[in-house]
Structure formats: structure tokens, C-alpha cells
């Protein structure tokens, strides 16, 4: 069980100093490959986490990540400084992911997700085995439930889990903050209902 009233600091995105990232992006705009590699390695994992949740397919996710970072290289000069670099890049990733989903006529949101999830659970012997097994079951149930939500709802939940604020999520998804709140409200309600019907009590961290 987690502490109830103290938000976890680990949930925060730890952004690099803005000025450093801006100089990096300026260098990328001037076709500096070393700067691009730094930016690439810094953002690859974050983009992958977001996109993988949206498209639900590892190979497609990797393709979208590569497309996104290629777009960062070719469009770095268009960054207007009106948002943080992180939200600008994830905004590109969001557009690319939506296009990929649209193009991929074979994309099936829920089918096959169970197989993918089974591959995720690699036990870590350093952790308490019983607790870890419980955590994994909960984690798998939460992921399965999330996979059943719409792309828009999944995106909002995932970005929140990645530590973005409501306003930043609005910038990434290119919609008003009120829409983000509404999507989150519906997503929470559906998640809770799906988990309850699967016999999982997330508030106590137990599944029956």
C-alpha cells in the first residue's frame, strides 16, 4: 500500500535545464549530428513509452519513434519556443502515432495485448518475490484495462503517469485543458469499472 497523502516525487518528470535543451535543439536545427544524438538518446525512451501505449504494438511503436525523431531533425528550425521542448517533441510523436494507427488497417487495439503483456514480466530476484508477483498481477490488469480504453483516453492516462501536468498534456494532444480533464475523468471511471469486473481491487493492491 502506498502513502496516501504524500504524492511521490519519483513521479515527476525530471526535465533538463531548458536553456541547455534549447541550445541542443538550435544546434540540431543547424544540422549538428552530435547534438542530435544527445537529444535522440535523451528522448528515445520517453517517446517510446508514450507511443507504445498509444499504438499497442512494439514494432509499430519503434517505427513511430524513429519517424518522430527524424521529424525533430528535419523540423528543428520550426520550433517556436511557445512550449517546452519535451511537449513539442511528444506533440510530434502524438501526431505520428495517430497517423500510424490510421494507416495500419490491421491494427487491433485489444487483440494480442495479453500475449505482449506476458513478455513484460521478468522477475527481479532483488525484490520480495511474493510482493513482486502481486505487483505484476496488478500491473498486468491495469495495462489490460488501459488497452481497452480509446486512444485519446490512453494517451491522457499515460502522459499523466509519465509526470506531465494537465496543461502540458493539453499542449501535447493539442486540445484545451478542460478536454484533458474530461478525458481523464472518463478514463478513470472506465478503468475502475474494468478492474472491478476483473476482480482487482487497486486501492488495496490485491486481486482475487
Amino acid at each position: 500500500m502506498l502513502a496516501l497523502t504524500v504524492p511521490n516525487d519519483e513521479l515527476l518528470v525530471s526535465p533538463s535545464p531548458v536553456s541547455e535543451e534549447q541550445s541542443l535543439l538550435e544546434a540540431v536545427a543547424n544540422k549538428d549530428r552530435v547534438a542530435f544524438e544527445t537529444l535522440f538518446r535523451r528522448y528515445h525512451s520517453r517517446i517510446h513509452q508514450f507511443v507504445a501505449r498509444m499504438v499497442n504494438r512494439h514494432d509499430l511503436a519503434e517505427e513511430v519513434v524513429a519517424d518522430t525523431l527524424y521529424a525533430v531533425w528535419s523540423h528543428a528550425h520550426t520550433y517556436g519556443g511557445r512550449s517546452t521542448i519535451s511537449t513539442w517533441i511528444l506533440g510530434i510523436a502524438h501526431k505520428k502515432a495517430l497517423k500510424a494507427i490510421e494507416k495500419d488497417s490491421r491494427h487491433r487495439r485489444t487483440q494480442g495485448s495479453e500475449d505482449q503483456l506476458l513478455d513484460l514480466a521478468e522477475p527481479d530476484p532483488a525484490k520480495n518475490p511474493e510482493r513482486q508477483a502481486g505487483d505484476q498481477v496488478i500491473s498486468q490488469h491495469v495495462q489490460l484495462a488501459l488497452d481497452k480504453l480509446s486512444v485519446n483516453h490512453r494517451a491522457v492516462v499515460q502522459l499523466t503517469a509519465m509526470g506531465y501536468s494537465c496543461a502540458e498534456i493539453g499542449e501535447i494532444l493539442d486540445c484545451p485543458a478542460n478536454t484533458v480533464k474530461t478525458r481523464m475523468f472518463h478514463a478513470r471511471r472506465q478503468l475502475s469499472s474494468l478492474l472491478k469486473s476483473a476482480g482487482v481491487d487497486v486501492t488495496s493492491g490485491e486481486s482475487s
Binding site: 513521479l11 517556436g80 492516462v157 487497486v202
Partner: protein, 240 residues
């Protein structure tokens, strides 16, 4: 415990903000407000616990599915190859333009023939051809812009706001705002698209939609509203 009836409005506000209280991204004033409320509200405490556990579950899964360093290396190399190929193409195109080889001369001859044909066409039917050329060029440019141009400079510009589209709906009776909103959301194909419902009194409500609402969604919504017996009048407006 807080009495829900007395502080329903504050509870709703706090309840909506809980996900960002949990991920610690609220502004300090909001953070304080939520913290104070959660201390005394059982429903918000349960929701907080649900959100914390769900978010942790997702973060654990993300850590396990993070790409290996070798995968990132491979991905970087693939993108660099793509960049090289694109730059190579750019150089080749440039070379072709300045080429003075036989191939270049042949291309020049072909171009000269095309210009001759175009000139003769213009001299014979100047006005219709010019008009047609303009129409084709403009249509082509518009199509190309909408199909292929991703303008990433406008991303995250925070220019999106509710209110570009507004619908005026008048009910036959005078339902409470919550009741009206519930019915409206049931009828909307994508409830997320309906950003705000404002009461204008006497059973009339103004509806704001998100910028991403499509014409198809709106059209289906208007049809559904018109089919409802409890709704008297529906009118689409452009909000100020």
C-alpha cells in the same frame, strides 16, 4: 469529514485535479487546496490511492518494456542512414540541375519542346488555358498542403480553445444543468468533444466543443438532438 452537500463544488474541482496532485504537477495554490481537501474527504482518499497504484503499475510496466541500449543504438543508426539518404538525394538533385553532360542537354531539349508546346497552346486559347492552369495550381497546392504538410511549428502553441463552435439547444422543459448535461453527453458520439455546457435560463443551453470535433460528429449530434422529444430547438452558432 467534509459534508459533500456543502462543498460539492470544491469536491468536484479537487476530484478532477487528483491525477495531477498525485503526479505532483499542480501549481502550489492548487496543490495546497487539494491536499487540505483530501485530508478530510474519504472519497478523494480512495481515489488518490487508486490513482497512485494505477500510475505505479504503469510506470513499472514502462520500466520493464524500456528499449535496451543496443535497440536505441540501432534505432539511431537507422535514423542517421535515413538522414544521409535524404541529404544524398538533395545533392543528386542539385547536381542534375547544374549538369552540362549530354544527359543534361537532352533534358534541356525536352524542356524546350515542352515550353514550345505550352507557348503555342497559350497563343491559341490563352484565357481558358490560363484560367485552368490557375485553378489546377491552386487546388494542387491546397491538396498538397493539407495532405503532406505537417506544420510542427504550430504544435503546442496553446492556441486551441473551446468556443470556436457553439450550439444553442432549447429544452421543452427546464431541466437542471446536471440533468441537461447528462442527456447531452449521452447523445454526443464522443462525449469528450463536448467541452462545456452553459445554462442561459428558460431551458436554453449553450454547448462548446473541443477544436478536434469533426463535422461528422457534430452532424450526428445535431440529428440526435433533433430526434429528441424533450428538445425544442437546435441552432449552430459561431461563438465570439
Amino acid at each position: 469529514m467534509i459534508d459533500r452537500n456543502d462543498t460539492g463544488s470544491q469536491h468536484d474541482t479537487v476530484f478532477a485535479l487528483l491525477p495531477w496532485w498525485v503526479n505532483n504537477t499542480l501549481e502550489s495554490s492548487e496543490h495546497r487546496l487539494v491536499g487540505e481537501h483530501v485530508k478530510t474527504c474519504q472519497q478523494c482518499q480512495q481515489e488518490t490511492e487508486f490513482l497512485q497504484n494505477s500510475i505505479h503499475a504503469l510506470q513499472d510496466a514502462d520500466q520493464l518494456s524500456d528499449p535496451e541500449r543496443s535497440d536505441v543504438d540501432q534505432s539511431f543508426l537507422a535514423v542517421m542512414q535515413r538522414i544521409d539518404a535524404q541529404e544524398q538525394d538533395g545533392t543528386t538533385t542539385l547536381d542534375n540541375h547544374v549538369a552540362s553532360s549530354g544527359d543534361g542537354v537532352r533534358r534541356s531539349k525536352t524542356l524546350a519542346g515542352f515550353y514550345d508546346w505550352l507557348s503555342s497552346l497559350f497563343s491559341r486559347q490563352l484565357i481558358p488555358v490560363a484560367a485552368m492552369t490557375v485553378v489546377v495550381a491552386v487546388s494542387g497546392a491546397l491538396w498538397w498542403q493539407t495532405s503532406y504538410q505537417d506544420d510542427y511549428s504550430v504544435l503546442s502553441s496553446s492556441t486551441s480553445s473551446p468556443g470556436a463552435l457553439q450550439l444553442s439547444v432549447r429544452f421543452a422543459h427546464e431541466p437542471e444543468l446536471a440533468e441537461a448535461e447528462e442527456l447531452l453527453r449521452e447523445l454526443m458520439p464522443d462525449p469528450d468533444a463536448l467541452v462545456r455546457v452553459v445554462s442561459a435560463g428558460s431551458g436554453q443551453y449553450f454547448l462548446d466543443f473541443s477544436d478536434v470535433t469533426t463535422a461528422v460528429q457534430l452532424s450526428a449530434f445535431v440529428k440526435a438532438l433533433q430526434a429528441e422529444k424533450v428538445i425544442d430547438h437546435v441552432e449552430l452558432q459561431v461563438a465570439n
